[in-house]
Assembly symmetry: D2
Homo-oligomer: 307 residues x 4
């Protein structure tokens, strides 16, 4: 566990140093940039080997070890990497972001300073239609003519909100009170510091297809632009074992088993026993567990046994 004194430069990751401080633009006026970081793929390995003592250095290669750790939820070595980002994000998105409690945060204060003079604006082609099946999702976009109307009205509201805010400030209203009616679309900035393990947790939830478009966009930049450069081996393992993995419940596993064995009837009987395939009005009643399973079957190229 000795450390060579001359290895100071080993603490840096050149690929990340190259983009240090540079802004990745997100949405219409947001950004993410790396302020500082600590650790690398190598320090994940180094931390893991504290546990294993001397003489284990040759047992596994670094890549194999990192993948093993990721696969088996040995999370503590990933916590040994830390990153500090400077982000600019609409308050509405920040409301979701801040729910991740394991990060350190310094946010721009509209109590102390005048609010950032920028609100997230929606382009005419970016207005999303409420999803029918998913209460918290969207599907598709409005046509330009409706979109342009919506964008116009958005501008009216944002301008009026700004007018009121400036009016209050010029009258001498306390900043902490003047801000009370700012729209959620107002941009804020923050330093956000988090360890790699918790960042992966954030990314797993926010890169996911059900995450809201805005935060998903930030998450994708953090993942594919920053983490990929910072810890490429851990990033690849994260994609293989988390993002692109497929998990089957106890029930799904039982059915899969029957499918492989060619017992289609048994598979259907099991699903029926789980209450997945009730028939109402001559068609399958909506059942979320069955529908989710069917999606996984499709990924595996297996056809549904019940149709």
């Amino acid at each position: 566990m000795e450390q060579n004194p001359e290895t100071l430069e080993k603490l840096r990751v050149p690929a990340l140093d190259e983009i240090l401080g540079s802004k990745f633009l997100v949405l219409d006026d947001g950004f993410i940039r790396v302020v500082d970081y600590m650790g690398s793929d190598e320090s994940i390995v180094q931390a893991a080997r504290v546990s294993y003592g001397k003489g284990t250095k040759k047992v596994s290669e670094d890549r194999g070890l990192i993948r093993y750790l990721m696969r088996h939820h040995h999370t503590t070595p990933f916590e040994m990497c830390e990153i500090k980002l400077h982000i600019r994000v609409p308050m509405d998105t920040w409301r979701q972001w801040i729910r991740h409690r394991t990060a350190n945060v310094n946010e721009y204060s509209t109590r102390y300073s005048i609010a950032i003079d920028a609100s997230q604006k929606t382009k005419t082609g970016e207005w999303r239609i409420q999803a029918k099946d998913n209460k918290q999702g969207s599907e598709g976009f409005f046509p330009e003519e409706i979109g342009s109307k919506l964008t116009e009205r958005e501008a009216e509201l944002q301008n009026f909100a700004k007018e009121i805010y400036m009016e209050r400030l010029s009258l001498g209203v306390a900043r902490e009170q003047a801000r009370k009616d700012l729209p959620l679309s107002t941009y804020t900035e923050a330093y956000w510091k988090i360890d790699l393990q918790n960042l992966f947790h954030f990314l797993a939830l926010r890169m996911e297809s059900h995450a809201q478009f805005e935060i998903r966009t930030y998450a994708n930049v953090i993942g594919s632009q920053i983490v990929r450069r910072w810890c490429p081996i851990a990033w690849e393992a994260f994609l293989d074992y988390r993002i692109n993995s497929l998990s089957f419940s106890a029930q799904e596993t039982e059915i899969l088993k029957q499918i492989y064995a060619g017992n289609k009837n048994e598979a259907v009987k099991l699903a029926d026993g789980f209450g997945w395939i009730k028939i109402i009005d001559k068609r399958f009643a909506k059942n979320i567990e069955r529908m989710e399973f069917e999606e996984k079957l499709e990924i595996l190229g297996i056809e549904k046994p019940w149709e």
Copy 2:
């Protein structure tokens, strides 16, 4: 460390059960109510005594023990009490509230449901003037005639924001996007669960005179209406050792010593050495450390040695 099987009712605090579920109204349309809780003054004592083993039950009375724990920052026994509140609070206040990371939270989702149809409204006499000395504070209120104008404009903005929001919803814009320009004054609701130790930390910061009026009002209700009933002995100790205590830095302690010894000149010399009493334009330059010390001297009824 035995527990009597018949003491199930010992787990409840009658004074808190009385108000269980009842709303304490806060601001113009907010509230706080206790949903559930676990523990009491007695369970703080019980947890502390796990550490001390058998035979220590008579050594200290409960009150003395709780006060000792509070005084000496033995915080773990206070963590053994937990409370779950249901709160209704403007999003602007919630933005501060949520920064306390040690709580469990379930917030009303405006992605899933239509936003709560209520915004914090400011009465004509409640508009606060920006403080001059404290960038993040206020001092005094605007006169009615200005206040009524501000309130009127506030209503215009809130109504317009609501109009736009409803317009988007009726067009079929996804809720997650329609909400993007809601004003920060919009009310939200949440279940908020926290242990007593971390609640005290929250209260120490948010009952403090520099905390913003809105969150301070909530904190005061939680403290004086809820915690006081729940764990009255711990609450009293918290007031005595945290809220109403007075702390002196190393420098202040040195000066105090000279003051008590009657060495006024020495006291001034020390302050000068600390850079507290530079004279610019024939008067003391603004120095925050000196000014804060002077406030403490006033509490002790001691006059400043340098005037």
Copy 3:
């Protein structure tokens, strides 16, 4: 979101109240007992519905909702349940236990009190043989004759350690120093308080077959004796979606697809590309990823494509 004032008894779970304070014995001299708790399956549902607002109560049944939350990692409603356990456990096991940082803890202090006069003793048939393949595991037991020798020697050491400890105490050595050579097998006690979400995380790691026997035994008691009574629906969902689920990596998913399509050769080619089936000395070289996949194939009743 109203709460009926007369529903105080709704806060209790009769099946758990029945065993409140009762000891579940673990190992030779350890135990677990429930000191207090807050919440139930019903309060998970209640918290989830804060997010969904009014009018959603009939949409899903409670069971379906809880299962949905578990399946989709909507973890916050599970955090609304909290439990406080009193445990007695060998220090060696406690060293693993305490690594879970999200709990509140009050441990028996051997600085303040004399150490608990009990050490974990190993029965003659309980001595485990070091596993060959798994550096941190065991496989099988020693025969009685070796076991009885080991147990005898264990007693010698434990007795001698106790003798030295008592010798120090009777000489007046400070307790905080006298304890320094106590064996790790010495029992300690603690109050341990944790929310259900973090408890599930603890159980997922510690009920797992690779967890050390001792802590696994405690975890199994907490799960099957306590959580099962406390929140039976959440417990069932935890078993179905965590404990008894099967997860496939991106690579494994690709191979599975070929297997189901009947393309055995393609499956082998893929595995070869992943570096899983190198042949050394005419047999497959040890490859952990391949071996883990083979185990999962066996669960599904699928034979390896490469043999």
Copy 4:
């Protein structure tokens, strides 16, 4: 909030880089060394200024700002600094250390590897006598003749424990079980990563005079050898406002006021009202609050009003 691309070297603290990887020896066989770190005094300032926006850079100097943050418990900017230490410490001390839950940890595994072959040994002059007044403290040392006997017996026990451990290993007992009777004095090693704010919290508790000698020694090395080099301004502020500060409760403040006003009788009357000066057998009954206050009076050079 721009960051100059050429300031990569600004991220390093030369005074800390100088000792990077070097061991500070602690106790008879322990050590602490810095593996890596992120941040500096300058990055505390930088983070604080995120809150204050543009144009505030000249308002306060860095030192004044850091001291202000420390004094007013604005803790988040200190969280922006992170340090990773490699420590070697007796398990008994580690049991206290690990109770600080806000750090990231990778500990040497005696499940995976053979235990570190070193136990903390006590020199003949280092055996401490149990304190009479403080149940968890010590006062003074045993004379050499008793000490040498104790040290001899310590060696006997440690040797015997080692013999048993090696015996088990050579028989093939699983490492995870063989270790069960290792003495608490056995050394362990860990990577320990923590942010500066939580490190200060650790130091405040563990540098304190009531902390056990062993962990206090480690804490002092971390503070005076490492943090002092890393963030010298924050370290100085920590000493002034935490370590060397003096805090008075509401009651103590009231009495102090009377003392400074020269009303000795009023001071005594107040203390009597608080129950501090009950007389039993013609002398003051032991009262911890009074005794603690008397200690503070002594620091201020004030004589007790009640004698």
